[in-house]
Amino acid sequence: MSRAMKDRLIWAVTFLVMLIICLPGLWVVLSAFRTNGEILTKPAVWIPQNLTLDNFRAIFGLGENVLAIPVGSYFLNSLVISVTSTVLAVMIGMSGGYAFARHRFPGKSGAFLWLMLSRTVPGIALSLPLFILWSWIGLIDTKLGVIVVYTAINVPFTVWLTEGFFRQVPRDLSEAAQIDGCTPWQAFWKVEFPLARSGIASAGIFAFLTSWNEYALASQLTRSTDSKTLPVGLMDFTAQFTIDWAGMCAMAVIIIIPALILTFLVQKHLIAGLTFGGVKG
């Protein structure tokens, strides 16, 4: 086989894989604009006959057929919980990552390993005691309860990423700044922070995505519209007698859009963040 032929073949196979990656998502998006009637028709209707925004209207209670599921408040809960816990996790993680990157202290590598291991606890295993403890102290079914939990599960990874990025910033920059008249605190914000910013941003994106997409814990720690998040809300649909496929698809679109936008904004840093944190000794 000639080299050009081989290249073309590889291109075709890659294209096929990309299609497999995209198709399910695209199909869900397409279904979000179709009617349930058309989705359920047998034999299958392949070319959509009439595309509609009704599913979205229903979700936000704008159309004539109102859904029983308050997606609007779920969306708001998700947003408040994810943003708050991300901000907290980034601040806490940045402080920890800086300590690991810049300071020597006995027991450092052990501490780092324990921090990482705390992240491995499966959500469902953690949800059992949290469910009970949070009920006792009244944090169950509150946004605050979920925020605290999400902050904690995001901290280890944030520490890992920011540590990698702070280690990239030469130590003598901070020293130069201190000689130039900065306090250590000023030196951090004026020199080290701006230089590690892209890494910190990527840590933030990861934290946000984790919170935004989490299900195992949220499904046990939330009950009502006060605190239920979108992923938990999605399961409301299946609890009903007949599954509203089109409605679920519309909700899926709503869940994915913020994550999609965020990821594309910083995709370059995401990869740099992961590999820097991991490979460079």
């Binding site: 003598d172 020293e175 130069a176 700044a177 000689i179 130039d180 008249g181 306090t183 000023q186």
Partner: protein, 363 residues
């Protein structure tokens, strides 16, 4: 007035002591160079002066004020780092003006000071570039510019030229010297390159294993090295050292070679004392190629093992009592390996050291 005084300075990292009680007085506007082999504690000492390392013991004073517990920003010093430590996210202008901005000076004053520094260092054309867009020499200049805008009491340099290529290093060395003449300030400069030390310093401080071994002007340490370590560390090629025993006005070496006790050491050695005889290549030359007026000389016949022509002079490699020694031939001609030459040693520039301790027998 900004003299720097170090009193019994000690530094330890945990149980490991790396600087063992250093005493040093640096006068106002003096250019002092700390020199020594890698790992001898030069940077640590400098960083203690800067306040970047805590002092474990002793006292540091700048301008009469004890600064042991003051943070770097309160010491009115500036420092040029080995890797420049320029702020990569700021332009040259911002880098230069950073310290003044932190100090809250008005923009007009900052502008004036940065322009002045840029003019001194020839940076005017690069003011809006970032450090990433500069060459090594330009970065070096920005680092120095950043240090001078503030008019600090003391300049600290930590091997500022070690990342430059040989040619640029020579050039920047001259610029640093000129800079010191233009902006009169106390300078403490760290290097492990003895040529830099010799050319720049008003006074050289030679360190080894966390101790100061000798302090003096470049000529002092070159001509009257306190011990064999300084003798081999300062000057290139290193001083020839041959072990021998004093026997009636002469030092006898293994085999049957011998040389007279140098005039400065007569009466300072005893019969039978074991010594190390030291002389520099510059002072050993073939008869007939010698300069006039070199004082008392001794004759040695040498078999040349190798000749290295350098142009203006030729380094001659030979052997004395089983030790490799080097001499120099001025006004050179071609020399073949194996050729026998009768040479002269200028005794006024020869030294004797104690064979055990390596200390000079001069005092």
């Amino acid at each position: 007035m900004a003299e720097v005084t170090l009193r019994k300075i000690v530094k330890n990292y945990g149980a490991l002591e790396v600087v063992h009680g250093i005493d040093l007085d640096i006068a106002h506007n003096e250019f002092v160079v700390l020199v020594g082999p890698s790992g001898c504690g030069k940077s640590t000492t400098l960083r203690m002066i800067a306040g970047l390392e805590e002092v474990s013991g002793g006292e540091i004073a700048i301008g009469g004020r004890v600064v042991n517990t003051l943070p770097p920003r309160a010491r009115n010093i500036s420092m040029v780092f080995q890797n420049y430590a320029l702020y990569p996210h700021m332009t040259v202008r911002e880098n230069l003006g950073f310290s003044l901005k932190i100090a809250g000076r008005p923009p007009a004053e900052i502008e004036k000071a940065t322009d002045e520094a840029a003019a001194i260092l020839g940076l005017a054309d690069y003011m809006d570039r970032t450090p990433g867009e500069l060459s090594g020499g330009q970065r070096q200049r920005v680092a120095m510019g950043r240090a001078i805008v503030r008019h600090p009491d003391v300049f600290l340099f930590d091997e500022p030229l070690s990342n430059l290529d040989a040619k640029l290093r020579t050039q920047m060395r001259v610029e640093i010297k000129k800079l010191h003449q233009k902006v009169k300030t106390t300078i403490v400069y760290v290097t492990h390159d003895q040529v830099e030390a010799m050319t720049l310093a008003d006074r050289i401080v030679i360190m080894k294993d966390g101790h100061i071994v000798q302090t003096g002007t470049p000529l002092e340490v070159f001509e009257r090295p306190a011990n064999t370590f300084v003798a081999t560390f300062i000057g290139s090629p290193p001083m020839n050292l041959v072990d021998g025993v004093v026997a009636g006005g002469e030092v006898r070496f293994a085999g049957d070679a011998s040389l007279p006790v140098p005039p400065a050491f007569r009466g300072r050695v005893q019969e039978g004392q074991r010594v190390t005889y030291g002389f520099r290549a510059d002072n050993l030359m073939p008869a007939g190629h010698a300069m006039t007026g070199i004082g008392e000389t001794a004759d040695i016949d040498l078999t040349i093992a190798l000749a290295e022509p350098l142009g203006a002079e030729t380094i001659l490699l030979s052997e004395l009592a089983g030790v490799e020694i080097q001499g120099k031939m001025y006004n050179p001609r071609a020399v073949a390996a194996g050729e026998r030459l009768s040479c002269l040693l200028a005794l006024d520039h020869a030294h004797l050291f104690d064979a055990e301790t390596g200390a000079s027998l001069r005092t």
